[in-house]
Amino acid sequence: MPQIERKFKELVMKLHARTQQGEIPWETTAGPDTFQVAFPDYSVSLSLDEDGWKVTYVLSIRNDQGNIIEVIRSDMEGEISDEYGLQKAMKELYEQARRQALGVEKAIDDLLGHLGAP
């Protein structure tokens, strides 16, 4: 696998792991179904690209000017998608980011609290 594609996958996996640990503050954006997180010099946006039955997860990297400098798609042709599980990792990352940005877990905990113990 070329070096850059290895790094794409590493980035997705690290975001996935850190999001799972609740360490990445994903936020909602103006775009429908788009979530973002910023770091000091770059930011990452995650969005959905739906074409009929086909759903593609899109991760965009922006520089400090706000310009997109790289796009990683879960349906990228070539080695990194299916063979290395990028599709699955990006789908999970998207779902985690969405729940985190919308505060889904907090809402469910709150609802469970109101409903009382079983």
Binding site: E27, T28, T29, A30, G31, T34, Q36, A38, F39, P40, D41, Y42, S43, S45, R62, D64, Q65, G66, N67
Partner: protein, 164 residues
Amino acid sequence: MEEALKFIAKWRLGDIASIVSLVVVIIGFILTNIGVHRSRKAAEEARRAIARFDTISAVSAAIQALEEIKTLHRGKDWHILPHKYSEVRRSLVAIRAANPNFSSEHKTGLMNAVTQLANMENEMDRLLAVAETVDTDIAGLNAIISRQTDTLSRMLVEIKRTER
């Protein structure tokens, strides 16, 4: 005259005068250096104070511009909004460029606001390309803008507090 020269020679006043002159020159040199150093320090402090003032003004202006964007959302002035998003985004990029020593937290806050505004500009352009008017969640957009003004306001307080 001869008496005077003898007196000077006897007491080696010439040597003493040379030593005194040397001491005076050294003290003068040190005092000049201290003066130059103080002037440089004062100039540097003045430059930093001006830069800090510029940053405070720019961040305050950005907060004001973000508040105006919220009003434009409420008024549904969709066509002017992409330009406004871009304008504020560029001002935030300029603030960041003028302050390379900003903390990681400040840089992240600015990066977040820049990305949100870039996303808003793209989304508004996309919506306006397919329709004359936009049916969107105004409260949602303003909530995003409010988060950015909160971040910038906190940044402003911190900048004002430092170097006071």
